[in-house]
Symmetry: D2
């Protein structure tokens, strides 16, 4: 499928590597490449985008980013630096790249200001990305969660700016790691712990009524929804209003009611057709957008899955692969990005570009799929 | 779900009963009721619509209608009579009813004229319904199919009037019945034969290029697609262009490419969730609309299925149950019908209308489902 | 997946080519290859089986076979010739091949005798394959259907021999073709007409009570069920016993009740994951078996779909790909075939044969899928 | 469906209520009823079983049970008391009830002894149920996880006794609650926290190699798999063996490979058809068993969902609803329980018990569904 847009695509700056180099934590022998890929935008990344039908990426500062820095001043300075640098990079090629702002979340008012600066003073920003909780306190083990009342100023800014908020996972605090994960550390990361923690934060934001108080706020999260779509029945079923009368969320709504209007997911890092089909059933194609999670995932892997292994009809494929993003992030349709919706034919989804089909929708030796779904 | 719109809903006039009374062919003891239900609009029918959340019905003259009459003059006169009468009935309550025109298809030019008359001179018509092939010839055993070149004038009228064409099944000719179905007559009707014949005619229209020559023509057919969505891969795979170079359909398109743009299905008479899910996968929710097939199906049965047994997300449910129709039949959004799109909340899909959920989304004894999906 | 068994795999003899050479009806330039592939067993065919993880094929005489011959004596002689020849070929490599018997169906008693001869006097036969209806009469336009009472002797033989009956489609009679298909001939074959006719015959056999009278008879048919699984709700819903009191099928059973016990389908020629998932929902993995339809389908295409594009769990994949066949055709577990059930690990489904996964379940450049589902 | 077996069904004893009365934590006005339901077996419970087609329940001591008691001697004494009492109750009606043993997990050797006592000296026990981690330490905030090497004696006993281990969730320790959940306490229980913690423990057991070292151990867990089936691709994809070379699980296996052989889930408390269909796709019907979670769920609610809202074929329905349990817990087929597999017809799934269907598979006014799926 041509024209794909991807939303959970990481990038970093040399200044951040000393404290946070993801290349140090991956398999032996692959770290250097990962570090290079994180630093790059206009070379390897765009070449792979071209080769794999990725029209556009919304870039974000690599996790845990500012959320991983427990000193407020340092975190705030890093956000400013990263945002200024990312604006510069994005504006080199704004019809292929946009940015989510990074913010320190120590001070909700300052976070609101930095988000406002990015959205109103810069040209490349279309929303903001938060890496789960903010590390805080002298030992970095205090976790600040953004579903609490004091974060009103941040959400008000996101609401008034109509800046969608991408919620991204991060590593656990060392205290939680030691209590829960140390006998099975491989589970603490992207295989399980990321989702197990972020889904609490996401549902905290929803059930604490943030989306009700700020009706223009939109949440986006990846990895096929951090387990939530599969359990949406049980979540709504068990948030018994008689049992939990103080839960602030509107009394006439279910969590599932927010999907497709204020809550959206992406496919980043979870390239499973049955999971996608389940999410399409429970929350609807309208709530789902393609993403990759580069460079923690391979661009060709993600795209081969989407283009050749996702057996859904062409309308839903093209909407999830591209068009839905333009509704959720409407700034992308404006200058300097100027993205437009595309039809299945424009995306080369469906159709017979060769004008004949002798062995059905494949060429004879199956080495090339003529029909891309 | 409130606000449902249904499209394959039958009606007849006393003048037609002598020749074509479906009440004679159903189970002993149920025929009289069926006849009464076919003749009724404003009494039993609308009461059941109110009780079951059906906001609107597009009515059509019962099958085989004019297609079952092999004498051209008689067929044409019956079309005129049925259309005039149906306009009169629909205009008694145009915010709840609209009509598909009936036409004799002996003479394509005359069919075009009658369709033009209904759409331009009357207020209640939003499209036209054809009952598979036209019976013709002295013994009624000649079958006229509308995918042939001589039907250009009819399709041109439908195209220029932007009048969608509903393709409805009908009983077989007696000659075909005797050759193929007489040792198993129960299969010749709605269980199998209706679909086995109509899917040939539908695919004949598509593959003979009618939709290419008339790009504003939209086809609609019921019964979850007359077997076609399930086999859409095989149909496209086996319409090998090298083998069939004379097939007129555009060489750069597949049959599946027309769904959602020019081809649509309804759920009439096939209240199966797995089949619906399969169709949603293969052709997309965008291509699917709720319908009942009253009075050959029960309104409460169809609605109980849709409202309580179709386990799909609320956006797709409400779009398939109502909003898609307003895109396919845009005349419904204009005077005198004035239909509007509705949100899930307006349709009472999702949400907690009681303000509390103690036993999950049900009341305690399961006698009432609080969340309608 | 290693160990796959395929059931709808065609073969022919030079003596049959004069009257029935499928190579004449395919795309220009591909007919000679098709003819060669039909005649071959031990060369191109087994090489492709080896290359694509096909452990075993049950071979059958190419359609329309004896059903296409309206002269009884000629049809009977051809059946004998084909069966004798096929036994000879199969016994050259009985751990890789078995056979379905061909029979003339002009005379049910003679058909029973020939089937009995194949099953009891030969070693390679495990069932019988019928190509829809038997052409009969002076002009070949009389269609004999096997759901009629006079075919009792044939079904009794199949029952007593515990010989499953594969029902395969065939071309229409010229009379039916002229009445229904001539304005759209490309639809008369594998894209649509094959299924539209065979599903009538299959449901005729079931609803006329053949499976009730002969409880050891098992039916198998291909192409993902000839449209039946998708419509099984509507078929059962519309076979209204009050309307059709003379329908012979047991009054306490639905058509769907026979699946998995006496009725089974294969995937031959319909390599669509959504259709497979729909069938798994409606009739169950227990009722489904992999097949190809070689040489009308490519072995690599079918196997690439099964091995890499069917996203179902490994138990169902291995059961549908192999183990179910051994329950439906238990002769395959005996001499001279000696097939055994296999585990997912034995089939190399699931698992990590390389001992490490750096880029998830794929190698880095997606050129090889390490996990085969 | 008649003949259903349910596995996650709670019960308690008066002696345990003082410290652990779940009735205190539910909605105002419902606690007394919950307490009464927990104490009851032979009155309200069996009456509801009879009314809703539940043939059999495996009972277990209510969570957190012995795992919630941080004093080893008290926990061990409670286990003995609960097991002795449950044996007594079960043996009053052993063809309708069996038991999972409760064990203190402070001392793995003692746990093994108590399990051995229950399985070998008593008649009603068919396995053991653990409530996530064992609370330990002076303040009860130390969490003991059973995937660690010191629990070998417990797993060896379960292995040698062929006693399946049901893993059930529990409330968090107060320390974890305060750090993570206190700003959103309603999420800490069955809506989310239960699964978010238990899935870590389950995957800890699998990835630490317990199932490899003890190949006769079977794990069962409820709530449609505690999020795991939906994420099984991502879990396996992200447990990168090059990144985590010390992870003890077999290098040639994926987590998904254990499902259906050593790992199984139940539907307790998650009555969602799309989630069930997703699980059937990812781990297979072979890995799934019906359960309720009584009295935290209503028996009629769970059974109405299973009997009328789960639109899967009858073989899978009956296997998941009953027959799979007899393979996973084979002691149930022996004295004194003597359970047998049942066919769909015996379970009244499929079929026409009334002998006629006028309005399809429903009675005319939809007040009664004649076909139970």
């Amino acid at each position: 499928m041509l024209g794909k847009i991807a939303l959970e695509e990481c990038w970093t700056i040399p200044q951040a590597l000393a404290k946070n180099d993801p290349g140090k934590f991956v398999a032996t022998g692959t770290g250097d490449r990962l570090t290079r890929e994180l630093l790059d935008i206009h070379d390897m990344r765009i070449r792979q985008m071209d080769e794999n039908g990725v029209d556009f990426m919304v870039l974000s500062f690599v996790s845990a980013g500012c959320q991983g820095i427990s000193d407020p001043a340092t975190a705030e300075a890093l956000a400013t630096l990263a945002n200024d640098k990312l604006e510069e990079e994005v504006m080199k090629n704004p019809t292929r790249f946009a940015a989510f702002a990074a913010v320190s979340m120590h001070d909700p008012g300052q976070a609101a200001e930095e988000l406002t600066r990015c959205i109103t003073k810069k040209k490349g920003f279309v929303g903001v990305l938060l890496n789960d909780f903010q590390s805080s306190g002298p030992d970095g083990n205090t976790m600040l969660f953004f579903d609490q009342p004091e974060y009103g100023p941040f959400w008000k800014a996101a609401n008034d700016l109509k800046a969608p908020v991408y919620l991204h996972p991060r590593i656990s605090s060392s205290l939680i790691h030691d209590q829960m994960w140390k006998g099975r550390p491989w589970l603490d990361f992207s295989a399980l712990g990321y989702a197990d923690r972020l889904n609490m934060h996401i549902l905290g934001i929803i059930t604490n009524g943030v989306l009700d108080r700020f009706p223009d706020v939109k949440l986006i999260f990846g990895h096929m929804g951090e387990h939530i779509p599969y359990d949406i029945y049980r979540i709504d079923h068990k948030l018994d209003r008689a049992r939990f009368p103080k839960m602030p969320m509107r009394k006439d709504k279910l969590v599932q009611d927010y999907f497709g209007d204020q809550v959206f997911i992406t496919t980043s890092g979870h390239f499973s057709t049955p999971a996608l089909i389940c999410a399409m059933g429970e929350i609807g194609a309208q709530s789902i957008m393609f993403s990759i999670d580069y460079p923690f995932e391979s661009i060709p892997n993600a795209c081969a899955w989407w283009d050749e292994h996702v057996s859904v009809n062409q309308h839903d494929l093209v909407n999830m692969g591209r068009n839905n993003v333009l509704k959720v992030l409407p700034r992308l349709t404006e200058k300097p990005h100027n993205l437009k919706t595309m039809t299945p034919a424009e995306c080369q989804v469906g159709g017979l570009r060769e004008g004949q089909v002798t062995y059905g929708m494949y060429n004879e030796d199956w080495s090339r799929r003529l029909v891309k779904r």
